[in-house]
Each structure stands twice: as structure tokens, then as C-alpha cells.
Amino acid sequence: MSVDIQDRLLSITGVVVRWLVYVMLLLPAIIVVATSFTPGTALTFPPPGFSLRWYIAVWESSLFMSSLGLSLRLAALATVCSLIIGLAATFATDRYVFRGRDFVRGFLLSPLLIPTVVLGLGLMQFLIWIGLNQTFIGLLLGHLVITLPYVVRTLTASMVLFDRNLEQAAMSLRATPARVFRTITIPLLFPGIMSAMVFAFVTSFGNVTLSVFLSYQDRITLPIRVLTYVEQNYDPLVAAVSSIVIFVTVFTIFLADRLSGSRSVI
């Protein structure tokens, strides 16, 4: 085969694969949102008309609404806590040279390597053992373990690119360490911080595998509520709930992107 033909085949394959991937990635979300507006009772695509009846049904369902509230609160708290803990730890591993630094970094990322099912079972047992089972704090601690590595990973990447001369320049301009941190370090790390928060938030908000072990009676997160509902029912109510989840995550990304201005979050 001549080099030219080979080249062309390769680039055509590339284009096809890329389009396939984009379509495949977005299709489920688009389908869910589209069917959620159906006026009928069956999940059909394309929907036969437009109505908000299933959104009203969600609004009136105390089960789904309480789960939505719980998930939002949980994700927000997990984001703030893991950001604070993760920022401090990343700062330490970035700024201090010490023996075993790579080991500590690896340790902070290690939850990514543990199948969540194993972690979930372990946490459930352990929380019973220390008497924190079936508590919000137990649920939160579990979510912190899985959001922390995303925060550390994102912040490490943006700190590597950070020019330390900027802080030193500020110091030479008589700025106290606190002012340097407030006016130079944080603003310049802001895009990284925002994207770390987005990852933490959506990781917690959408988590199933861990929450399934840590949720209990009146504290059931939204994804788990959807899961148990889908196992018994199959109607557009779930499409509406899922669409709400989609709206929340897209809104989170959009907001973060706006907040960090022209500098890209992702």
C-alpha cells in the first residue's frame, strides 16, 4: 500500500472515530432530557409532545425532593472540605522538599486505585465499628475520601505551572505572606481551584457505588433514589429527575467557567 493511501485512510478513520465518540458520549444525556418533557406515560424517543408534568411530579414527590436536597448539601460540603484539606496537602507536597514526597503524593491519589465497591463495604463496616453508621457525617467522610484525590490531582497540576517568582516579587514589594497568599497565590491558582471544585462536586453529587453502602432510610442520595426507583418502575418521572441532575452538573460547570473569567477552568 502506498504511503499516501495509508495516510488518507488513517485520517478518515480518525475523523469517523472522533464523531462516533462525541455522538456516543452525548446521546444518553440528550435522550434523557428530551424524554423528560414527554406528556405521555411511556418513555419514548422522540417524545410525542411537550409538557412539564413530570417535573411537577418530581416537585411534588417528597422522596425525590428530600434526596435532591441531601445530595446538594452533601456535594457542597464535600467540595468545601476536600478543597480545604486537599489545597493544604497539595501546598505541602508542592512547597516542601522532603523524603518520601512521591510516596505521599501517591498515597493521596490512592483512593482512585481502590475499587469503590471494596471501599464502600469497608467504610460501612468501619463506621458501624466507630458508631458513625447511618449518620450524615459518616456519609460525608466517605465522600471526602473519593473527592480528595480529584482535588489533589487537579491542584497539583496547576501548582506545577505556578511561577514562584511571582510570590517572591510580591514579597520584595513588602507584602506580608498573608497578603501574598491572598492577592497573588489564590487569584493565580483560581482556575485550578475552580476546576478542582467542579470535579469534587460532581463526583460527590453523582456517586452511586459508595453512597449505596452509606445511605440509610431517610438519608438516601439522589442517585441511589433513582437507582432503586428504576429497578421497580420505568416511567418519565426518572427522566425528569435525571434531567435535573444533568441541569445541576451543567450549571455547576457553567458557573465555574464564568467565575474564573477568561481563564479556562478545564
Binding site: 511561577d163 510580591a170 514579597m171 514589594l173 513588602r174
Partner: protein
């Protein structure tokens, strides 16, 4: 604007040293990056730390700025021991190699940053910013962001930012290395003029000998953490105190041999030259511009030299010569059409003014593979 140089804390005695390093030392993982450096800088003086990369010059500068803690010794600024003082209480201004302008602030905000630190009132701050931007001819760019500026403009913003606080000493870390050659010369002249007009005490770091020779009042040549020589540009060039300094600054021929009781130098290969030095083993340094055609110096001993290479440089030609098996360099102007070519034999004489004997105590030969 005139009072920028004097600063708010004008000392009683103008003779005071603004900066003193006393036996400053920095050890990194068992290696002495900076070894017993002592140096005094007078008011208004422009001192340059010159050396190959890794010689400890930047570490020394950063220790003065307060970014690196020395492992030994003391640093004084206007007589005050600042060795353990954090950077933000040292009263220094610094211009970084990459300028380190705050990318999220406009030019004016960059310059204003330090003025906010010292608690200056807003109206006064803005006056000061205007004034200093006018001084560096950047007032029309006050609302731009640094990324929209050229390299030369960025450098001037960095300088304005550092000078706005009227520091006791200004530090420049390789300030010209990010600029292209032509711009570099022009900005060097501008900077020189500005610093002189402000009578600013300045310490700068460079690996570029031309920069050091043209700008500095005094040069500190460093190599492998040690100070090799401190002196005026003329002293450094004409009276190098070591092989390293001789070779690092300018070009030269280095010959090793012995000096007898009459001051006659004989190299190991047999090259002989009259000096006024005391007897013993010695290394002599011969600068290329002091090697002349023998008809120009008819009273001096003439040597028959073989031309190994001949390069035209415009204002002069550089010849690489062999006298016996000793090598010499020669810079000279030849009349049109009479430039010797490779393989020619010419007669040369050596102007004794250009011959230096490298002193014995600095003879210890350090590897210089870092050049």
C-alpha cells in the same frame, strides 16, 4: 522624583556600606553552592556578580533578597543585620529574569502593589504611579495587562514596580537575557542611565561578560561558589587574579612555565618572555590585542609565528598563532590585502603591558567545565 535615590532613610554618613555580605555560605545537600562570600557595596555603586551558570551568583543574590536562608554568615543592609529578616521587611527591589509581572493586574496595578503594602494613601499612590510610569515612559500603557506588552516594555514595568518603593538596594537577576541582541544593548544603556540618575545602589547578576564590563563599577567574578576576584572592570580584565578569571573574561593565551632570577619566563615548551615578576613556577596571561606585528614594536624581541587560523571580525582580525608548540591569540588590523592567511609565517612582538603573571596563591586549578 529626585528624592527617589536618597530614599526615606538617608544615612548620616554617605560612606556607609549599603550592603555587606560577611562570610555568607549556602550548603545544598552537602555541596557548598556559595562559599564564604564577603562583599561590601557602597552607596550608589553598581556591582555585578559574574560567573558561569551554577557558580552561586544567583543564590547569593537571592540570599540578599531574603528568598533563600544562608547556612552561615551575615548580611547587613545599611548596618542592620537582616540575615534572618523575611524578604518583605528588607527594603530591596528586585527585577527577575522573567520579570515576574503579576499577570492578573494591569501595569498600573503592578506598580501600585508595593505602595499598598506600605500603607500609602490612595491619592498619593496614584500620583506616585503616574510619576514613575512617566519616568520609564510607559504612562500610555498603564491600563494594559503585562501579556500585551513587549519584552522591553515588560522589563521597564518590572523596574518601575521595584523602584516605586525607593528601595535601599536594587537587585537585577539576568535582566537582559530574555531580550534579543539589538534591544539588549539599547535597554542596557537606558537602564544604566536611569540607575545613575537615581544614584541607585544596585547588585546585578549576569553570565554575560560584556554586560558586566560595560555596566558595572565593580565586578565580582564567582566560580563554583567562591569569589575569584573583586575589582573594577579594568582590573578584572587587565589584572586577572586567576586562570579562571583570565579565561572567563575576554580571550587570552595562557602559558605555563618558570620565571628565573632575572624575571625571564620560560614556558615548558621553551617560549621565552621578559617579565618583571619574582622567580618561581608561574602562569602568564597574554591578551590578544597586545600581540602586535614586530615592525610596530621594533625595540622588542620578535617571534616567528605560524598562523593556524585567521578570522576576519570587521574591526579587527583574530589570528590563532603557534610559536613553537605554544599557542597565542592576536587581534590586529591589517592593511587591505595584507591579512595573513592560514599557513603563513609572521613576526610578532608582545607588548609587556598586556602580559600578566597570574599570582601564585590563586594558582590552584579548579575544573571549569561549567563554562
Amino acid at each position: 522624583m529626585q528624592n527617589i535615590a536618597k530614599g526615606a532613610f538617608a544615612p548620616a554618613n554617605e560612606q556607609d556600606f549599603v550592603v555587606s555580605f560577611r562570610n555568607i555560605e549556602k550548603i545544598y545537600g552537602g555541596v557548598k553552592a556559595v562559599d564564604a562570600v564577603s562583599l561590601d557595596i557602597r552607596r550608589g555603586e553598581l556591582v555585578c556578580l559574574l560567573g558561569p551558570s551554577g557558580c552561586g551568583k544567583t543564590t547569593t543574590l537571592r540570599m540578599l533578597a531574603g528568598f533563600i536562608d544562608p547556612t552561615g554568615g551575615e548580611i547587613l543592609i545599611e548596618g542592620q543585620n537582616v540575615t534572618r529578616l523575611p524578604a518583605y521587611r528588607r527594603d530591596i527591589g528586585i527585577v527577575f529574569q522573567n520579570y515576574a509581572l503579576f499577570p492578573h493586574m494591569t501595569v498600573a496595578k503592578n506598580v501600585e502593589y508595593g505602595l499598598i503594602s506600605i500603607g500609602m494613601k490612595k491619592a498619593e499612590r496614584q500620583d506616585r504611579v503616574q510619576e514613575i510610569l512617566r519616568r520609564v515612559e510607559l504612562q500610555h500603557l498603564a491600563d494594559r495587562y503585562p501579556r500585551a506588552l513587549s519584552g522591553g516594555q515588560q522589563q521597564r514595568v518590572a523596574l518601575a514596580r521595584a523602584l516605586a518603593l525607593q528601595p535601599k538596594v536594587l537587585l537585577l537577576d539576568e535582566p537582559f537575557s530574555n531580550l534579543d541582541a539589538q534591544l539588549r544593548v539599547r535597554l542596557r544603556e537606558d537602564l544604566h542611565g536611569l540607575i545613575r540618575s537615581l544614584n541607585m545602589t544596585t547588585l546585578f547578576v549576569t553570565h554575560d561578560q560584556e554586560e558586566a564590563l560595560t555596566l558595572a563599577d565593580r565586578i565580582v567574578v564567582m566560580n563554583q561558589g567562591l569569589v575569584e576576584q573583586i575589582g573594577s572592570p579594568e582590573e578584572i580584565y587587565d589584572a586577572p587574579s586567576s586562570r579562571f578569571v583570565a579565561q572567563f573574561i575576554g580571550s587570552c593565551a595562557l602559558l605555563e612555565g618558570n620565571i628565573d632570577g632575572d624575571g625571564q619566563f620560560t614556558s615548558h615548551a621553551g617560549f621565552q618572555l621578559q617579565t618583571s615578576a619574582s622567580p618561581g613556577t608561574a602562569t602568564i596571561v597574554i591578551r590578544p590585542e597586545y600581540v602586535r606585528r614586530s615592525e610596530e614594536l621594533p625595540t622588542l624581541r620578535s617571534y616567528r609565528a605560524h598562523v593556524d587560523a585567521s578570522d576576519y571580525h570587521g574591526h579587527t582580525s583574530r589570528l590563532q598563532l603557534s610559536v613553537g608548540s605554544d599557542k597565542l591569540l592576536m587581534d590586529a588590523r591589517f592593511p587591505v590585502g595584507r591579512k595573513p592567511n592560514q599557513g603563513d609565517l609572521i613576526d610578532v612582538a608582545i607588548d609587556p603591558a598586556g602580559v600578566r603573571v597570574v599570582p601564585q596563591q590563586a594558582q590552584e586549578w579548579r575544573k571549569q567545565n561549567t563554562i
